[in-house]
């Protein structure tokens, strides 16, 4: 029973990170059909924004020393600002470009951000301690669950709730949903295209900052490549969930997190190193069964 509970919490917290990542990818994909490969580097950027630029191994904590009620809004702001800046400077010029071109442009942008960080901070991972007491375990029905896992899950659920309220109850949310459904039609009905896209980038950037905070607290290190893996899984989750479907992206994020944890726990010991191969294999199987994704919105269907 305790083992099952442990697995359940592992799966939920890993799935939470993937779900937040998938949301960040899906928000932008929904309105402009861009798969933002720079998302992982946005995550890393937000983490490094807490440190003062230096190439020493010991990190000089800068913004990271702020109390949490200032640090969290500041990081969310940094994430949103970076993301919006990238839209204004780069992606705005690709409005009518082929998706492959946009994808490569986003990859090139991520490449620039990554190497900028490398130049400022060097490639050595830096230790960073935020809220060390979150690592302590809490006792829950006999299982020892790290506090951070509980917090991660709660934060994710809160973010999801806020996002749902925002999308369903506010005017901007309505505009975003309309734009994701049929961009041309929404524009004709008075939705400002650039405004909606900018908003999507802001949301995506804030989600990147949230993931950065969770990852940094979890691992205690800041590493240039830390966002890349999340970004990849998030991208896969968005497709499996049905591109353009926000609930689908979240569900698929949790599903992949659960699959990784369950494979890790149930595979025989020798095969455990091949866990990722099983996860990717499962992704291919899911795609073969449902090429449109598990929760494909009606608008995703190709018209002839």
């Amino acid at each position: 029973m305790t083992a099952v509970l442990q697995i359940l919490f592992d799966a939920l917290s890993l799935g939470s990170i993937y779900a937040l990542g998938a949301l960040g990818i899906a928000a932008i994909f929904g309105v402009m059909r861009l798969v933002n490969f720079a998302h992982g580097d946005f995550i890393a950027f937000c983490v490094f924004a807490m440190l003062w630029p230096s190439i020493d191994a010991a990190a000089i904590v800068f913004a990271g020393r702020l109390p949490f009620y200032l640090l969290i809004p500041l990081l969310l702001f940094i994430g949103a600002a970076l993301s919006m800046l990238s839209e204004v400077v780069v992606f705005r010029r690709f409005r009518n470009a082929n998706p492959a071109t946009m994808m490569i442009a986003s990859f090139a942008l991520g490449f620039v951000i990554r190497h900028l960080l490398l130049m400022l901070y060097s490639s050595r991972p830096k230790s960073i301690t935020l809220w060390p007491n979150l690592g302590l375990p809490v006792e829950f029905l006999g299982a020892h669950i790290p506090m951070l896992q509980v917090v991660t899950i709660i934060i994710t659920l809160a973010v999801l709730a806020v996002l749902v309220l925002f999308l369903k109850r506010t005017r901007f949310g309505l505009e975003m949903r309309a734009a994701a459904d049929n961009f041309t039609m929404a524009r004709m009905l008075g939705v400002r295209a650039n405004g909606v896209i900018l908003l999507a980038f802001a949301i995506s950037g804030m989600l990147a900052a949230a993931i950065g905070l969770i990852l940094a607290t979890n691992s205690g290190t800041a590493d240039i490549g830390m966002g890349a893996n999340v970004m990849l899984i998030a991208f896969i989750a968005t497709v499996i969930g049905g591109l353009g479907s926000v609930p689908g992206a979240v569900a698929a994020g949790f599903l992949i997190g659960a699959a990784s944890v369950v494979f890790q726990a149930t595979l025989p010991h020798d095969a455990r190193v091949f866990r990722d191969a099983f996860v990717y294999g499962a992704v291919i199987v899911v795609l073969l069964a449902r090429p449109q994704g598990l929760f494909a919105p009606k608008s995703a269907k190709q018209r002839v």
Binding site: V35, F107, A108, H115, L118
Partner: protein
């Protein structure tokens, strides 16, 4: 009234121009280049093979593939298994079957076998993956890359795991690099003017119309997938002979994205685009590498700070894509008559984007 020329006569100039230009580059490098420059040139030729292989699939089918670098991985490791002297293999790669453990083949034999191995693998997985289209196919190829990388990074007794396998005879030189690039170009060219290549481009431009005209989309895609896997398998094998070590990390995301960037920067729907993308990016990289080392201006050495190279290349890529979203060649082919000559290919490309969407 003159009879319309055959397809070959209309298009043969493209591969000839490309191969001759590359030959000139190889000759100049051989005659004047330093040892380091020769290595850069060989790397460029290997990249040309990879990107031309990518073009054979991506350019003709319109499906973006993230998985082709796994064929490079397969080719490189196959070469390692075949070409490393048995004495070394029996220490590092104990898990190999006996017949493989005791063979050592020269490069000329090992390389084609590696290509065929990659192609066979592509034939098997392609039968499954090629049923998908659009972005689902792209993600499935991503999955393929993930599976191959994970297996090759962890199957310690056969692939040496995360570490590198050393001991492939380093027999590459710039001429062999050129020959490899030329072979890749010829294969990709022959495929693209073949019946299957034509049919595949029809499915890229109008999938429904092509299907209604009797084109079997899955079959044509599979053929392109296998052809491109063969080319990239060859490239992987030569890469193994070039570095004389192989390691799974060099066949993963970084290589995938850099080769894709080269293809898109050049123009993803033309063979000339594939080649010129690689050449342009390689020239840029070499240029900035030298700028970082420092240029002496009247006795004073002025150099860019380290790390500027990658940042500048990323920014230049973005700028090229902003102004030339269809790539440096705008998806046209080089040819004698007018340069670059507008072929009938160009207008149809717009409609091809629908499917990726």
């Amino acid at each position: 009234m003159s009879k319309p020329h055959s397809v070959i006569r209309q298009t043969i100039t493209t591969p000839i121009v490309l191969i001759v230009v590359l030959l000139a580059m190889a000759a100049l490098t051989y005659a004047f280049g330093s040892r380091a420059f020769n290595r850069t040139a060989i790397e460029m030729f290997i990249n040309i093979m990879v990107v031309v292989g990518l073009y054979a699939f991506v350019g003709n089918s319109g499906l973006l593939s993230f998985g082709h670098i796994s064929f490079m991985c397969l080719g490189a490791y196959m070469t390692a298994w075949l070409a490393i002297p048995p004495v070394m293999k029996s220490i590092t790669l104990k898990g190999l079957p006996g017949w493989l453990l005791h063979t050592q083949l020269p490069m000329w034999v090992a390389t084609p076998i590696s290509g065929v191995f990659a192609a066979l693998f592509a034939l098997i997985v392609g039968r499954i993956i090629m049923r998908l289209s659009g972005i689902a196919a792209s993600i499935a190829t991503f999955g393929l890359l993930g599976v191959v990388n994970n297996v090759y990074s962890n199957w310690d007794t056969v692939t040496g795991g995360q570490g590198s396998i050393v001991g492939i005879p380093p027999t590459m030189n710039v001429w062999i690099g050129w020959l490899g690039a030329a072979v890749a170009i010829v294969i990709a060219y022959l495929y693209s003017i073949s019946r299957s290549g034509l049919a595949l481009r029809a499915t890229r431009d109008e999938a429904v119309a092509a299907s209604a005209s009797g084109v079997d989309i899955v079959r044509e895609r599979l053929i392109a997938f296998v052809v491109s896997a063969f080319i990239i398998g060859l490239a992987g094998a030569l890469y193994g002979h070039f570095l004389s070590i192989v390691n799974p990390g060099s066949f993963y995301l970084r290589t995938t994205f850099i080769t894709l960037s080269m293809l898109v920067v050049g123009g993803m729907y033309s063979l000339s685009g594939a080649v010129s993308g690689v050449v342009a990016m390689s020239v840029l990289i070499e240029l900035f590498r030298n700028l970082e080392k420092g240029v002496s201006l009247g006795g004073v050495t002025v150099g860019l700070p380290n790390g500027v190279q990658e940042i500048a290349i990323g920014i230049i890529t973005i700028i090229i894509l902003i102004y030339l979203p269809t790539g440096l060649t705008r998806n046209r082919e080089f040819s004698w008559r007018g340069w670059p000559l507008q072929r009938r290919l160009a207008p149809s490309v717009q409609t091809a984007l629908k499917e990726i969407n």
